[in-house]
């Protein structure tokens, strides 16, 4: 079994429940200004805590760190087991970071029901944190589902589009449909554990010690796949995404496009628990085909979108295809690139959604033909749009390049066809973004723009600068981030290469060394 490191103080529980307690605090507050400031304070505190977590994290290690464990429902082997490792650590930081930015963004742009909005947002943060720090499958599922409730209200109550009611319902029901199958998959895994050990367990680390026969692995893989694919969303399960991201509030779009929960799920659960199924040729071929379709389809559809946010939706689908491509290349570069790319998308795609939000706040829509020549009126906005946009299409020197380069390297190693098709996606990406930028920012100034068109405010600048700093930091000096994830990625690759056997062996070794120590 994997080594577990403990920490003197239950930092993960605090990280998880701090936003929820904050939401309860907001409930009793009356003054609008105080509510905003408290929400910001809580999020900044959360960011500080997660920064502490990142600093104390031991890099180049596959160990489960900051581990906490309590029994929850012992009869079914369900435990309250929290830990982070190289796979999840960066997501914790990313979630805290993006939430702060969303609070900043929402400061003036949310005008109704401010208290409920920030409460929902903080509840959503708790659910996201819970997803990333849970090691127990059921605990993970609890947060996975819990996320739907604040999301539903966020989309429904503060959505900007007229179809938001439909979008909220569609989002909840679609993802729930996938999730219930994932739950069934988890239960089957636990049942398999039961047939070997005569007791149930939903603990990831315990489940990994028991081999699963190949036929069952494949069945369980597809069940979990359904849950993840609906949430991701992977082509062809993506139909809810345009509705939600265009109709919903910008904050929600940022979370859904920026925090890649589902692809994290592959690395967290599918690969370690089902290594033989994940490397099965048919499975890989099907998933790779879907990923390639997503890359090319998303990018081509993005070119012809008349609306900036819809363009971003399809570019997001295309980027997600890259992530899945890297994952199922099943080699070190691929996995490393995918993981770092998931984090990158939290800065680039999410960043573009922020900028779309800035545009929306100024123009009342994001239709591309209503823009034109905006660079003259909004030079700062245009500059940041260019920076984040170029990062999103993978310009060298930005974070997008690191991620896409590693993914393509991995894909070429797996099979040259994957690499070639994926590269075409990069070219389409350049064309959709640059063409959009040319139409929207350059060219003649369109008529009937609002008279009071102001450039970025102070708060908006903070958001844009924070995102740009992260983009260049990862782009120019990625090694601190890569060092954090390397240990765990190597561990997953080993497990994929040697199947479940490798882990049982290393588990025995740890036990032996422990006995020697004793």
């Amino acid at each position: 079994m994997l080594e577990e490191l403990r920490f003197g103080f239950p930092i993960l529980s605090v990280l998880m429940f701090l936003p929820l307690l904050g939401a309860l605090l907001l409930w009793v507050l009356k003054d609008v200004d105080l509510i905003k400031k408290s929400a910001l304070g809580i999020c900044v505190l959360e960011l500080g805590l997660s920064a502490l977590l990142l600093l104390r994290f031991v890099p180049e290690s596959a160990a489960m760190q900051f581990s906490e464990r309590l029994n929850w429902i012992p009869g079914l082997g369900i435990s309250y087991h929290l830990a982070v490792d190289g796979i999840s650590i960066l997501f914790v930081g990313l979630t805290a970071f993006l939430t702060v930015l969303i609070v900043l963004y929402s400061w003036d742009s949310v005008r109704e029901n401010i208290k409920a909005y920030f409460m929902s947002l903080l509840a959503l943060e708790t659910a996201l944190m819970g997803i990333f720090v849970s090691i127990d499958l059921i605990l993970f599922f609890v947060f996975w589902e819990l996320m739907l409730i604040p999301s539903y209200f966020l989309i429904k109550l503060w959505g900007v589009g007229p179809e938001r009611h439909y979008a909220a319902l569609k989002y909840v029901l679609y993802t729930l449909l996938g999730s219930v199958f994932m739950l069934l998959g988890f239960c089957l895994l636990s049942l398999n554990y039961f047939t070997v050990t005569q007791s149930y367990s939903f603990d990831l680390l315990e489940l990994m010690t028991v081999p699963v026969p190949l036929g069952q692995q494949i069945l369980i893989f597809w069940m979990i796949f359904l849950g993840l694919a609906f949430k991701a969303p992977l082509f062809p399960f993506h139909t809810w995404l345009p509705d939600v991201l265009v109709q919903g509030p910008i904050g929600m779009s940022v979370v859904l496009a920026g925090v890649k929960l589902a692809t994290y799920g592959f690395l967290r659960f599918s690969f370690p628990l089902l290594p033989e199924a994940s490397t099965n040729q048919t499975v890989v071929a099907i998933v790779m085909t879907l990923a390639l379709i997503a890359i090319v389809y998303g990018a081509i559809i993005a070119i012809i979108q008349p609306d900036f946010r819809r363009l971003l939706v399809f570019s997001s689908i295309s980027h997600l295809g890259f992530v899945v491509l890297g994952l199922f290349a099943l080699n070190f570069q691929g996995l490393q690139g995918s993981l770092i790319q998931m984090i990158n998308l939290g800065f680039t795609t999410a960043g573009l959604f922020f900028l779309a939000g800035f545009l929306y706040d100024r123009l009342g829509n994001t239709l591309i033909d209503r823009c034109g020549g905006l660079a003259r009126r909004l030079p700062v906005l245009a500059t940041f749009l260019l920076i984040i946009g170029l990062a999103s299409i993978g310009l060298p020197g930005t974070n997008g390049f690191i991620g896409e380069f590693l993914i393509l390297l991995g894909a070429f190693q797996a099979h040259w066809v994957y690499g070639v098709v994926a590269v075409s996606g990069v070219i389409f990406a350049a064309s959709y973004f640059l063409w959009f930028y040319e139409r929207a920012m350059f060219g003649p100034l369109v008529a009937n723009l609002p008279q009071t068109l102001k450039d970025l405010t102070q708060r908006e600048k903070i958001i844009a600068v924070a995102l740009s700093v992260m983009i260049f930091w990862i782009g120019l000096y990625p090694s601190p981030f890569l060092r954090m994830i390397n240990g765990s990625v190597q561990e997953v690759v080993d497990r994929l290469d040697h199947g479940a056997m490798a882990w049982n062996r290393s588990g025995d070794e740890t036990m032996v060394t422990q006995m020697v120590k004793d």
């Binding site: 079914l76 909840v172 047939t195 069952q216």
Partner: protein
């Protein structure tokens, strides 16, 4: 056969809770007609007090392990019986609390209302202890008589009379089926006692007999295809009676079902599994799909109740100890969430005199507390984590997986999605729509207490379910010899048929 009745002191102890409750309900009746000016609210609290005393006695029994059988095995007191008695009493106390305001709308017989509620509760306590076919029949009818009157309590309301008539006719029909089934089973086995049937050979007579008994109990729990009385009766009956009807008799009937099929018929399991699987699939699917179209909140809860019973039947279909544990834990979570939801419905209908879902528009503006409570109850009913309903459903699913009931599971999983849809419709009305009339709503203390109890139960059972699961596990220890899981995970090939 001669009947002789010998009761020793220790035998009386086994009956003590029932005897106490009998005396208590007589006291209530006497107080009601002797003290004419007494406020009826006091009678309600007196009843709740009596119920709580009985409840505590039973908890003490559970703790000290009092058990035994009486009257030639007709009556059994074991931990399973104690569990269901506590369940019935909890719901009774809850229902009396939510009735306090509603009773003021009755023109006559306000005191008798509490008497009838307690009498039905007494009948259901006996049901939980029924250990042979005759006592099943007697206790079932005994508990139903109280309900026949309670359902028609709104005498000027045509709907209430209609509800009573439907309930009565179908109830009597079910009683007929039950008697016929009992006679067939007795003919096939020559015994009435559950424990003695297991050793007999299966025969057509026995099979038909048990299908008939299942049908009769199916009426009580409202499983499809025996559900037809439920929506109209629920809608027409006074709302607290509906709440009572939606939980207590179902719990008691489930107690009989568990005892009958786990003890008497354990050896014939392959014959009856299909019965439960079909009833479960039909109940879940029908209940959930029809619930979508409902305009009245009581009807919506009626259909959602049918679907919830479908979920509980999953546990019976599993037919294992884990199945029974899951059922009992599920019933507990259902108790709090369902009665909590009814408490909110009563709170709203007392104030605005309407049960239409349309009138829940903007409830959040009018009473944030009621809306938030309803939100939590509905989400728990839908099985959204970390509320109680999720843990209970998970438990049921694991019980079913162990027995390889995959078709049933897939249907159940898809039903979760359908169910969330109509709960979300109500949630949407409460939170998104504008109220027709924005005056704030406030509810009385007893109702508020009931809502708080429901909320506490729903949250605690979800977040810290361990003691309650342990309780359910301990109550069903006698089934631990039943089929340990034999199943293994299917390979993909066995499903595809390769």
């Amino acid at each position: 056969m001669t009947f002789d009745l010998v009761l020793s002191g220790s035998d009386l102890l086994l009956l003590a809770p029932e005897i106490f409750l009998t005396i208590w309900l007589c006291v209530i009746l006497i107080i009601d007609f002797s003290l004419k000016d007494l406020d009826h609210e006091k009678l309600a609290y007196l009843s709740v007090g009596g119920v709580l005393v009985t409840l505590i006695t039973l908890m003490w029994f559970d703790y000290t392990g009092v058990s035994g059988t009486l009257f030639k095995n007709m009556f059994v007191l074991d931990r399973l019986a104690i569990f269901f008695k506590i369940f019935v009493l909890l719901s009774t106390a809850f229902v009396i609390l939510i009735s306090v305001d509603y009773v003021k709308f009755f023109r006559f017989f306000r005191g008798e209302y509490y008497f009838l509620v307690l009498m039905s509760a007494l009948g259901m306590m006996f049901m939980a202890s029924a250990n042979d076919l005759l006592s099943v029949f007697v206790t079932l009818e005994f508990s139903t008589f109280g309900f026949y009157v309670l359902v028609t309590y709104l005498r000027e309301d045509l709907k209430s009379s209609e509800a009573g008539l439907k309930f009565f006719i179908l109830g009597v029909f079910a009683a007929g089926l039950l008697a016929y089934g009992i006679s067939l089973v007795y003919g096939a086995t020559g015994t009435m006692v559950f424990g003695e049937m297991a050793s007999h050979q299966g025969s057509y007579g026995l099979a038909i007999g048990f299908v008939l008994i299942f049908a009769a109990l199916g009426f009580k729990i409202g499983a499809v295809p025996f559900h037809s009385w439920i929506p109209d009766t629920y809608q027409g009956a006074p709302t607290p009676v509906t709440a009572f009807l939606s939980i207590a008799p179902k719990g008691a009937a489930i107690a009989i079902l568990i005892r009958m099929f786990y003890v008497a018929l354990a050896t014939f399991k392959p014959m009856w599994v299909l019965l439960f699987v079909l009833a479960s699939i039909l109940s879940m699917t029908y209940g959930n799909i029809v619930a979508i179209a409902q305009k009245n909140i009581k009807r919506l809860l009626a259909y959602s109740g049918i679907a919830q019973m479908g979920n509980i039947l999953i546990g019976l279909a599993a037919g294992t100890k884990r199945g029974s544990d899951a059922i009992m834990f599920y019933l507990l979570t259902y108790l709090f969430a369902n009665l909590g939801a009814f408490a909110v419905v009563i709170g709203v209908s007392n104030l605005i005199k309407s049960d239409e879902i349309e009138d829940y528009n903007g409830l959040n503006r009018r009473s944030p507390f009621l809306a938030a409570a309803m939100l939590i109850f509905l989400l728990s009913l839908a099985g959204v984590p970390p509320l109680a309903g999720f843990i209970a459903k998970l438990y049921l699913f694991i019980a079913a997986i162990e027995q390889e009931l995959y078709a049933l599971l897939i249907v159940a999983l898809i039903n979760i999605v359908i169910a969330l849809y109509y709960y979300l419709i109500v949630i949407k009305k409460m939170y998104i729509n504008e109220p027709h009339d924005p005056t704030p709503l406030t509810i009385s203390t007893p109702l508020k207490t009931a809502v708080y109890v429901g909320l506490a139960g729903t949250l605690i059972l979800g977040i810290y379910p361990k003691p309650f699961i342990d309780w359910a596990v301990a109550a069903t220890l006698m089934f631990s010899n039943l089929a340990a899981p034999t199943a293994s995970v299917p390979a993909v090939t066995s499903l595809v048929g390769g």
